[in-house]
């Protein structure tokens, strides 16, 4: 485990208990009535889900930036998150909400569809440029279909459901969502970690990576699967939560030796931390209705992105 991972793990160890106690009602385990019930059935699953979703997004972002060799890459670029969102929106559009499993399952089907499209278009040649373009096309296609679903929503209720859901949140989630997402996110992370050494070799460009024995097609398949599982499962249970995958690797990179492989685990931990803290803040804020987590993170993310661009411009000048 490297230094960055240790730092993030330590911060998580502090943040997790605090997050369990924090909320519209602060819990004192000794005096609050039904404290065990509230913690075990409401706050703990929500916190664990925040960790799971954040870890998936963080590790996916780190792997994405490593693969595209671009610090501005975001897992959303691959079209997997928009694909998952389209799946979920389809479920909402047709009112398939009888079972709480249906919406996440539709989202997973959407993510799987986006992954299959990506693999079909770009998987054979393994070229980065083609792959990025394919991802953008899948993303904009899914985005357009989502917009179509919103504009043709059968009633105002469905429309507001869709729009609300698109701005991700962890409100009212239970252990069910945790059991759904956690195994997939974990498996996805294992695949991304396995892609690490190939990503390191890509630092010297694709021809050198291949000359070092990296099978770039296999690397791409690992990434599509890994990012599909981590991001797809995250979107399925929490909706669209942007910017985590973009910001987190930047926060962590200075703590590492900057090899992409060294960034994946710390980024998972940092992503978990960021989503956990952001979700706790959203709960504490004294607003009439709870601020959606997706909106909160975008409010945080966009200024950060601008700051990053300004800093990079200064670096180039």
């Amino acid at each position: 485990m490297n230094r960055a991972a240790l730092v993030m793990a330590a911060l998580l160890a502090i943040a997790l208990p605090l997050s369990l106690l924090a909320g519209r009602v602060w819990i004192d385990p000794a005096t609050t009535p039904n404290a065990a019930l509230i913690l075990g059935e409401l706050r703990l699953p929500r916190a664990v889900l925040a960790l799971v979703v954040g870890a998936g997004l963080g590790s996916a972002g780190a792997a994405m930036q490593g693969y595209l060799r671009n610090p501005l890459a975001d897992p959303g670029l691959f079209g997997i998150a928009p694909g998952a969102a389209l799946g979920a929106v389809t479920a909402l559009f047709f009112g398939f909400t009888a079972s709480a499993w249906l919406l996440p399952l539709f989202a997973l089907v959407g993510a799987g569809g986006a992954m299959a499209l990506l693999a079909l278009i770009a998987g054979r040649t393994g070229g980065v440029a083609l792959f990025t373009l394919a991802g953008l096309m899948v993303a904009s296609l899914a985005g357009a279909l989502t917009a179509l679903a919103i504009s043709m929503a059968p009633n105002a209720f469905a429309m507001s459901e869709i729009v609300l859901w698109l701005n991700g949140a962890l409100t009212d989630r239970s252990w069910r969502e945790v059991w759904l997402a956690a195994p997939m996110v974990l498996l996805g992370m294992v695949l991304l970690i396995r892609a690490g050494s190939g990503l390191d070799a890509l630092t010297l460009g694709e021809p050198v990576a291949r000359s070092l024995g990296v099978d770039t097609n296999r690397l791409l398949s690992l990434l599509i699967l890994g990012i599909g599982l981590t991001v797809g499962a995250g979107v399925a249970v929490a909706g669209i939560i942007g910017f985590v995958g973009l910001i987190v690797p930047h926060l962590v990179r200075p703590l590492t030796d900057r090899r992409p492989s060294q960034l994946i685990v710390p980024s998972a931990l940092a992503g978990a931390l960021l989503v956990l803290v952001a979700d706790s803040i959203v709960r504490i804020l004294p607003l009439v209705t709870e601020l959606r987590l997706g909106i909160a993170l975008s409010l945080l993310g966009a200024p950060f992105f601008l700051w990053l661009l300004l800093r990079m411009r200064k670096g180039l000048a």
């Binding site: 390191d200 890509l202 630092t203 010297l204 021809p207 050198v208 000359s211 070092l212 024995g213 090899r259």
Partner: protein, 242 residues
């Protein structure tokens, strides 16, 4: 171990080239722009799909080698000095050990030392000058202890002093038994530093011989459409366009 190409055809780039390269020698591949030099080098490195013909490494066909086995034998250095992340120099050089699945420190140190870049080991890759980067990237190749070094215009973007220094390092590698294959644009460097020169012209082999014969004024005029004269001083040749 020989590196041989037989009747090699690369779509629209190379037609029926046969050549056999010997270890312990510096072989220069020369030719005008678009002659197919880089494609030939990439094919010899096992990085291109060949349309027909075979490339053999020793007694094995390159296409049937495992990527890892191929990577252990052949070190490839492209023309672009891409280093996407600002990693420490030592970590970059360690990448050369990847085909072996280890990071043996003594070999990494030896490679750094061989290229006179030990003092840069803890520096960040993106803070290096062009000449330093070129040497570090060659050290990366050496760290893998390849039997072959295939480098695409390793002297491009280097000043004269660094060009000569890099050639000296490559000569040392060849003397240790490594087969060195270089795509070179500078005909005088090829003439003075290669043991053998392969001249490509529009995807076909125009010459494959000792430098004096392969790069004779007649061949240069025929292939580069430029009239030249070679001048000799103190055992070194200089190219004079007429």
């Amino acid at each position: 171990m020989m590196l041989e190409a037989r009747d090699l055809v690369l779509e629209r780039r190379l037609a029926h080239a046969s050549l056999s390269l010997r270890p312990g020698e510096i072989t220069a591949i020369c030719g005008p722009n678009g002659a197919g030099k880089s494609s030939l080098l990439e094919a010899l490195a096992g990085l291109l799909e060949v349309e027909s013909g075979t490339i053999r490494l020793g007694d094995k066909e390159l296409a049937s080698c495992q990527p890892r086995e191929r990577a252990q034998a052949i070190g490839y250095l492209p023309q672009e000095h891409t280093v996407s992340w600002d990693v420490p120099v030592r970590r970059l050089v360690e990448l050369g050990r990847m085909p072996h699945g280890d990071r043996r420190r003594e070999l990494v140190d030896a490679a750094l030392k061989a290229l006179d870049v030990e003092h840069l080991a803890d520096r960040r890759a993106q803070s290096l000058s062009g000449g330093e980067t070129a040497r570090v990237l060659l050290a990366r190749v050496l760290a893998g202890e390849p039997q072959w070094i295939l480098a695409d215009e390793p002297l491009a973007a280097l000043d004269l002093g660094h060009q000569l220094a890099l050639l000296k390092h490559l000569r040392r590698a060849a003397d240790s038994g490594i087969g060195v294959v270089l795509v070179l644009h500078d005909l005088a460097h090829a003439m003075n530093h290669a043991d053998r020169v392969i001249v490509l012209d529009q995807g076909a082999l125009a010459a494959d011989d000792a430098p004096q014969r392969a790069l004779s004024a007649e061949v240069v005029e025929r292939v580069w459409h430029t009239r030249v004269e070679w001048m000799e001083r103190g055992g070194r040749m200089a190219l004079l366009p007429l």
